[in-house]
């Protein structure tokens, strides 16, 4: 167990900046998710902690020790790769034993530790198989056991579930979380999947263009995204571009909220589909159901309304039993609690808008 500190880390590839002045503290025993679209620098950040890349500027500490110049093999880390990267010439057991053997641990100790890990990741029955003889989920559990074998201070996971199919993915996600909590290791988890990040992590760092946009606990991130980018990236969200009139932003009859100070003339209003309140005939604005999509527990309705001669489209999620009343073409009324609407300035790159919550968390 060790904390990880990144202090002003910058990484430039050739002339392309991949990370710009990133500072981040990860507490001992914490699981932090690095969340962002591809190319946002999350994997680079992970590789810097692993020592597979060297920072252009800045320092990296693990457990208080400066490891910036320490080669990968001497860092107290374990790493899990998206592509599993199991050694094809070694069996599951030999793969897990490898980090212990290169450290020249006594054979008896290696065997005991490997048996313990095989049980932990539930692979004891596959121990003598080769990587090409096991499933993707099993391969990734083997990779996890291999990473944990030397009891690393930090566990680094680089999109470990991306190569797996959906069912295995959620199961293994919960399994990784369980194991991380059993062994109590600090962990950094890179993913582009926001639901995965929120399900697995103690805190989520949202990244964009080589910067950290926001670091929050998952419920806070979901409830109150700090930037337009976070709002857009996290959770299924409606985004409507609206004008500011008399210091207010309104979708007439649906919601009216005061515009944040310093916002530009046009803003983007974000609201989540589950916050859209629908009634067959009640208070609010009339709208038409265009499309109905059954998603299991919830059903998504695509809604169309007309505001001042312009069409506005957004969608609403409601419990499937409730949605039975609405078929495509149905006329409904719509309203949204203004407390659930977040306004961000309209600028191109999704950088934080002034007055729209804290800039950097």
């Amino acid at each position: 167990m060790s904390s990880v500190d990144l202090i002003g880390v910058t990484k430039v590839f050739g002339h392309v900046p991949a990370l710009e002045d990133v500072s981040l503290q990860i507490a001992s025993g914490e699981m932090l998710a690095l969340l962002g679209p591809s190319g946002c620098g999350k994997t680079t950040l992970l590789r810097l902690v692993a020592g597979l890349e060297l920072p252009t500027a800045g320092r990296i500490r693990i457990g208080g020790d400066d490891v910036t110049a320490v080669p990968t093999r001497e860092r107290p880390i374990g790493m899990v790769f998206q592509s599993y990267a199991l050694f094809p010439n070694l069996t599951v057991r030999q793969n897990i034993a490898f980090p212990l053997e290169v450290r020249r641990r006594p054979a008896a100790e290696v065997k005991a530790r490997v048996d313990e890990l095989l049980d932990l990741v539930r692979l004891a029955s596959q121990a003598d198989r080769y990587p090409n003889q096991i499933s993707g989920g099993q391969a990734q559990r083997c990779a996890l056991a291999r990473a944990l074998a030397p009891s690393p201070a930090v566990l680094l996971l680089d999109e470990p579930l991306s190569a797996l199919d959906a069912l295995v993915r959620t199961r293994l996600r919960d399994e990784i979380r369980r194991i991380q909590q059993v062994v109590k290791t600090t962990a950094i988890y890179v993913t582009h999947d926001q639901s995965e990040a929120m399900a697995i992590a103690d805190r989520v760092a949202v990244m964009s263009h080589g910067r950290i946009e926001q670091v929050s606990r998952p419920p806070e991130l979901y409830e109150s995204p700090a930037t337009r980018f976070s709002a857009m990236f996290v959770g299924g969200r409606n985004a409507l571009e609206l004008p500011v009139v008399d210091g207010r932003v309104a979708l007439d009859g649906v919601f009216t909220v005061p515009s944040p100070a310093g916002a530009s003339e046009r803003v983007v209003a974000f609201f989540r589909p589950e916050d859209v309140e629908i009634a067959p005939n009640g208070v609010g604005r009339p709208a038409v159901v265009e499309v109905k999509i059954f998603l299991g527990a919830v059903t998504r309705l695509h809604l169309l309304t007309e505001v001042a001669g312009r069409q506005a489209r957004f969608y609403a999620d409601l419990p499937s039993r409730q949605a039975m009343a609405y078929e495509p073409g149905a006329k409904v009324t719509v309203r949204i609690d203004p407390a659930n609407v977040r306004i961000f300035s309209l600028d191109d790159d999704g950088a934080p808008a002034p007055g729209a919550g804290g800039a950097h968390a």
Binding site: L52, S83, L86, F87, P88, P99, V102, N132, P150
Partner: protein
């Protein structure tokens, strides 16, 4: 995953397969082509073999008579045996030296410093671009300046052969490394705490072995049959190609001269053929892995 990929490929092929009559025609065509190829490859060796056991071979399709005298005489000739020993030793040392130099270099160029790749690839093209005679004289000149005592010696010849044979090994090894995804495995091993030597010995080598074996065979064969460099760089070294050249040059018209050459040629062929067969057997089922990207296709991954 591999199974699904393969079977789906099979299905598409089957769907595109023509009707029964056409199928028969295709089969017959394949048989004819295969037979022609087989004859093309074996006929020269067959004639050489017949010549090596012929008493005389005059105007007929087949030799006038058969004898094992030439084989016995050849193996009784100490010069021939010596030449074989020297050639085997030379080719073996060349192949081993190339492995020792090329595998770490290829690994380094892939994993640590891709910038040296163009240099390696350029030097790997030189033996194809320049005639061996030119390389031989160059080596002679260069050794004359740098290390005159080496001139005419076996070690200098080994260096020369290693230089002209290494591209074959390099391409095979590099392809095997691409197929095995050595960069990934190497990073994983590093994160496991392995040192570069541990990575090379326990992870890299076992996963590129088919490439190393194939490449080493090609390097071996290159050295085994090489004539120009031996002639120019190391006049004192007596190899099988040198013996063969002398046998042709010193032809006196008496019987047996060319028959013994045929014997030596046959032995050459058998040595290389047995080695090739051993390599194919050793690499069975893994040849496809030598192709870049084959690994990911095998696993049904996207690249």
């Amino acid at each position: 995953m591999a199974a699904t990929t393969v079977s789906s490929v099979g299905q598409t092929r089957e769907a595109a397969r023509p009707g029964r009559a056409e199928q028969g025609a295709v089969r017959a065509g394949q048989a004819v082509l295969f037979t022609a190829l087989f004859v093309y490859f074996t006929l020269p060796m067959l004639t050489v073999f017949l010549y090596s056991i012929a008493t005389r071979w005059t105007a007929n399709v087949l030799p006038d008579g058969y004898t094992l005298d030439w084989w016995i005489a050849t193996f009784a000739d100490r010069a021939v045996i010596g030449a074989f020993g020297t050639t085997l030793l030379l080719a073996t040392i060349t192949a081993v030296l190339d492995i020792v130099v090329v595998v770490p270099a290829a690994y380094w160029s892939r994993v640590r410093n891709p910038r040296i790749r163009p240099i390696i690839e350029l030097s790997a093209a030189i033996p194809f671009a320049l005639p061996y005679i030119v390389i031989g004289f160059g080596l002679l000149q260069f050794s004359g300046i740098v290390a005159p005592p080496l001139q005419g010696t076996f070690p200098l010849l080994v260096i020369g052969h290693a230089a002209i044979a290494f591209p074959f090994l390099y391409w095979a090894v590099d392809g095997a490394m691409a197929a095995a995804g050595i960069e990934r495995l190497s990073e994983a091993a590093e994160a496991c705490g392995a040192s570069p030597i541990q990575i090379l010995r326990r992870i890299v080598l076992p996963n590129i072995r088919p490439g190393v074996v194939t490449g080493a065979l090609l390097a071996f064969a290159t050295s085994f049959g090489e004539f120009a460099l031996v002639q120019i760089v190391a006049r004192g070294v007596y190899t099988v190609p040198i013996w063969s050249a002398e046998a042709i040059r010193s032809y006196t018209g008496e019987p047996g001269n060319f028959n013994r050459l045929a014997v030596v040629t046959m032995v050459n062929f058998i040595v290389l053929f047995v080695l090739s067969a051993a390599v194919v057997y050793f690499n069975r089922g893994q040849t496809v892995r030598l192709l870049p990207g084959a690994r990911s296709i095998e696993r049904g991954e996207r690249r």
